[in-house]
């Protein structure tokens, strides 16, 4: 009985939402039809928001990658929030998984020699790759989140290969904190300099070069470090290993 009701309910909700999404135009065919309204200056423009991003993005942020421009600069505050969400997740997991006494170590079979050696070798390269992804976030597809995830995956590899391995928790925490402080600090400096929180106060430089787009690379490095250490921390907490 309950199952039938649940199924009917689910089907109904799918139909309803499907009908709603069917009314949505996809692609940027009629992008020019929307004229956004600026509530502060109380004026209507002849532009739509996405069109503005595409047209002016490079000039206004200095970032070659428009996705990054939107994520880190136009809507940097949301990104700060998302970083916080991740931070919260890791804190929450840390709090829930907190173990009062050292649990008895389970006996885990060691991985074989191939895995151990290969993971040692690969470890550095994966980290390098992750770092590349977030350092070049404003130039190429990618950015802090994928970069951080890649870095965390290198630690995951070590966890899998060496059952007794555990990342040093203290330094993870410190890295996490410093990265987070950098992000908020950049925002606060912007507030001091230009009275806009998260203001892009550094010179934009030349687009397509590594040192361009003002504070975006700094933020992306911070995000990368932060995401990397947080995900590692989550993995660590799940493993039940404590300092």
């Amino acid at each position: 009985m309950k199952r039938a009701v649940a199924a009917i309910l689910a089907i109904l909700i799918f139909i309803v939402l499907g009908l709603a999404f069917a009314k949505i135009p996809f692609g940027n065919v009629n992008l020019e039809d929307y004229h956004y309204y600026n509530p502060i200056q109380d004026k209507q423009t002849s532009d739509s928001v996405p069109a503005h991003y595409l047209k002016e993005g490079k000039n206004e942020t200095g970032s070659t990658n428009i996705v990054t421009a939107v994520v880190v600069d136009y809507r940097g505050f949301d990104t700060l929030g998302e970083v916080t969400v991740l931070f919260l997740a890791s804190t929450g997991v840390g709090s829930v998984m907190y173990i009062f006494e050292k649990e008895k170590r389970r006996k885990v079979r060691r991985a074989n020699a191939v895995v151990e050696t290969a993971s040692k070798l690969l470890f550095g390269f994966i980290i390098l790759f992750g770092a590349y992804i977030f350092v070049h976030g404003h130039l190429t597809p990618g950015g802090g989140f994928p970069g951080g995830a890649v870095i965390a995956s290198s630690f995951l590899l070590l966890y899998l290969a060496y059952p007794k391995f555990h990342a040093e928790h203290k330094s993870l925490n410190v890295a996490e904190s410093l990265a987070g402080l950098t992000f908020v600090g950049v925002g606060l400096i912007g507030l001091l300099v230009a009275s806009y929180f998260l203001y892009n106060f550094l010179p934009f430089g030349l687009p397509t070069y590594l040192f361009s787009a003002g504070v975006i690379p700094i933020i992306y490095v911070a995000v990368g470090v932060k995401v990397g250490s947080e995900l590692t921390g989550i993995v660590d907490a799940m493993m039940g290993v404590r300092e």
């Binding site: 649940a6 309910l9 109904l12 309803v16």
Partner: protein, 605 residues
Amino acid sequence: MEIWSAFGIFVLVPLIGALLSYLARKYAVYLGLIFALVPAIALYPFYGKEMSTVVNIGVKLNLAFDVTTWFFMLMLDTVALASMLFATSYVRKGEGGFSTLMLLGLAGANGVLMARDFLTLYIFWEMMSWSAYILVLRSSGEYARRYMLFAVLSAYLLIMGIGIYYYYTGSFLYSAASGIPLSGWAWILLFLILGFAVKMAVFPLHVWAPYAYRSEQPFVAFLSGGLSKLGTFGIFMAMYSIAGVAILQGFGTFRSISLFGYPFAVLGAFTAFIGTILAIFQDDLRKLLAYSSIGQLGYVMVGLGLGTPLAVGGALFHAFNHAFFKAILFLGAGAVIYRTGKYRISELGGLGYRMPFTFLFVLFAIFALAGIPITSGFISKWMLYEAAIEKKFVLIAPLMLIASVGAFLYCFRILYGVFLGQLDKEHENVKEAPAPMLAAMALLMLPLLIFAIFPGWILKWINEILTGANIGTLKYDTYAYYSSIGGADMLVFWITFMLLFMISMYLFTRKRKVTKVVDQYDNYLAGETPPYVQLHAAHNFYKPLRDTWAPLLRYSVDRAYEKFVKFFIEGFEEIKKMYTENPQDYAAYLGIAFLIFLLVGWWLL
């Protein structure tokens, strides 16, 4: 500026007193007395003054002072003063709560009297309600909840009335009442009257009173004598000051009585009847007085419902008398309980020999209650009877008369069971009540005697109230009032009474020389003297009467309420099952809710 002094004296001073007496717990009772004394004395210069103001604390409190306010304040503040005086020797020393809450209640009550808009009325009304609730809670915790529920019921009935008023006028001001259709008035008045009637303990809403009146006696004296008069005030104000006679007459008339008021008059008569019948069979002194209070306020309700000048005048006068004599009775009971620690009538007896002054005061209060002419209780009751007889109401008048006879019965029960008869052995050493208690009762005694001789004085004030509300005028002079079917001339009465009194006094003193006072035992036991015999038989008092009434006494409003509540609580248990504690169900609720929101939204689009 003057109104500020009035607001300050009658509301702020008690509030400050409440705060101070909480902080200085050691001297709380004395502080309470002082701060109750200030408004009670300051009242006299304010007679006849009319003023109004708006106090803005964020919401606008419209306050005014006129003769109606003054008249009701006279009762309330005097009773409060007497209660506080009584409490100085009744309440344990060093306890802050009592005076704090009494003063809060007093401030609330004075605020209700001065309010000229519903918001202010409601604020002070609730303040008075909850401080009384905590006072009930202090001593009879079991039943405090019952009091609170009815207090809140009263408040919510008021809210319904106020809200409908607000719907039509868009304002809380009393004076804004215009353009309300008759059907609107019917609902407004119904809710307001029922709301205030809870405070007056009118028939189906009376069940809180017998329980609440078991708490500390000085407070109960104030609750029954003082605070219940706010119900009277509220009904008077709602019917005659806000709505007015014209609107009441607009509902149609029955022998020139408004058809709207008539049912309430009948309800009042029933209340008088039922309260009296129930009072007769109570063994608990406090409960007896409580039912008697219900019955007496039924009379007041009759007067307010009938709405002729004579009836309303009688109602106000009776409310005034009731404030004083019921306060004396409760304080007297308090004195007895204070000295003996007992409150069952069957366990007491013969205390008149040990507590003569208390006996005297209670005796006079009982005269007033029963309507015996040497006190002003007679005049007010007579006015109410006449008001009913004048219009030939064959339902109301007989009910009132039967209730009056019943009042004699329970009055006698108090007199005999507590003060007369044989003194219990363990009460041999009972002393007279302490001086402050006696002083409090004596203070309350005065108006009952004064207005029995000079009813014209109080009728003058009542007449001012009546003319102010456009009800009509009373015919009266200093010693008498007159009505189309007679009236009462106290001058004639007093002269006759004094003559008869002299004659009987003379006969009595002459006879005294030849009478011999015999011991109680000699009377009953034919001269034999065993060490101790219990002669006092107050158990099963009025058993024959009880047997006669038994079929009717089976029905109890209390039990009906209990059944009602039980029914609902069982329902609540069923509803609780909705919270199954299973997250899958909860998720399904979310889905269903989404679809419903959507459907409704679609439909409304």
